[in-house]
Subunit: 257 residues, 2 copies
């Protein structure tokens, strides 16, 4: 049996938070054929609102420490402002979107991250994705727009990394679709030379990844991004693409397989 | 054919914004048998956040003037904070809730209110409810939790009165269910004497309503509430109940038919 193609597109906060780039993104996303899922961030708006409210944003390794007040801010910004503007914008383009956190229809259940060296607060580590429920929505022509929030099943919303949501959702939908997972970010792809925006590495296999890390070509935050990509492939996702926000269909960028 | 019973419960902002009364509401709502819908307000939190952000809340006849900055606030508070806390709280009680604005799955389309004497700003007058979509969700065991926000189909979220959302949703679902619409508020029902909390009028028909208004027993904000109730009945809703937040199942209070 040939499964249907499904595109899962993760876009960072910057793209969805500036009106101009958001409109372009929504135009591009609307033109993608077939079933699709949009996963968004929103960190910059959250930081801005927190700052206006006098709440200090504490980050450790790029992750936000989420105390009770910060949780309110991200619930408002991710689940409300950013998510609903995307949904309304997609509806205006004929895309029948639904905004979801993990709590909605219980699509993503998390565990509150255990306190080890650092107490991240109300941050979730994804435990379970209801791929069947998401597949049913997609089969009914509904397009999920997922905010980076999950829940613990005990009544708490949990702040959850958007890359992780995208990866776990891709794995959860892999039994139902041939999933392409597309991470959009500021660069055109994985670069051979970080100072040369056009030095995109077109394809990376697991063996090449190991070699490129050993050579110091791939470093820093790109390493966990690619580790996540290989994990997703291992769990049945067909293809992962790391590309720019101008390429939501994933035709360019770096293809990982 | 006998239709299934459906309860649509509207609760005001005060109930969902205080942790203790919210927990009680969620406990009560969770015990209601069969398909159900929760419609919530959130005005007090919106006013509070707006005030902290230095945005003045302007009200005319109890309706919020919604400029662009205020729209952001209500989108965050209604669509994010209040809605997602309710959804997570219901999930913890085994209720498979989904939080919806009118933009989500295009369930409620509105027109931006035309400017006459007053420019209400980004405020929606409900044009169309997709009752079939909501009925499909309910048939699948999903419980909609509706924020007082709709959209105009042109990319704009619109602030929309929660009583209106409840009434229009009840009408939209009337072809699919025997709908009981329950408005919960601070009083125990429609009172014969506003200074006597126990003077609840148990039932009101259209003729009695006309008489009670003529006698000055029913006045002020209760008149449009009851007008809406009769409109809903006229459009196929089986029963409307006006009762207290301690009675979400609508066993007490004032029954309108």
């Amino acid at each position: 049996m040939v499964n249907r193609q499904l595109s899962i597109i993760k876009v960072g906060g910057k793209i969805v938070e500036e009106p101009e780039s958001l409109q372009q993104l929504l135009d591009d996303f609307a033109t993608i054929e077939g079933p699709k899922v949009l996963v968004h961030g929103g960190g910059r708006s959250a930081t801005k609102l927190a700052s206006t409210l006098g709440i200090e944003s504490k980050m450790v390794n790029g992750r936000r420490i989420t105390d009770a007040e910060t949780l309110k801010v991200v619930t408002m910004v991710y689940g409300g402002l950013v998510n609903k503007n995307i949904v309304a914008g997609l509806q205006a383009r004929g895309v029948n979107a639904v905004g979801l956190t993990g709590a909605d229809m219980n699509v993503i259940l998390s565990d509150k991250r255990p306190v080890k060296d650092i107490d991240y607060g109300f941050v979730g580590d994804v435990k379970q994705v209801d791929g069947k429920r998401l597949a049913d929505l997609l089969q009914a022509g509904i397009i999920p727009v997922m905010a980076p929030l999950t829940h613990d099943g005990k009544g708490n919303i949990l702040n959850t990394n958007a890359d992780t949501i995208a990866g776990e959702t891709a794995k959860g939908l892999a039994p139902y679709f041939d999933v392409t997972l597309i991470y959009c970010f500021e660069k055109k792809g994985v670069l051979r030379d970080e100072n040369d925006d056009d030095s995109v590495i077109p394809t990376i296999t697991r063996q090449q990844f190991t070699d490129l890390v050993a050579q110091g070509v791939i470093q820093g935050g790109m390493i966990p991004k690619l580790e996540n990509a290989f994990q997703a492939l291992h769990a049945g996702v067909k293809q992962v693409v790391i590309t720019s926000a101008n390429d939501v269909s994933g035709q360019q960028g770096t293809k990982i397989f």
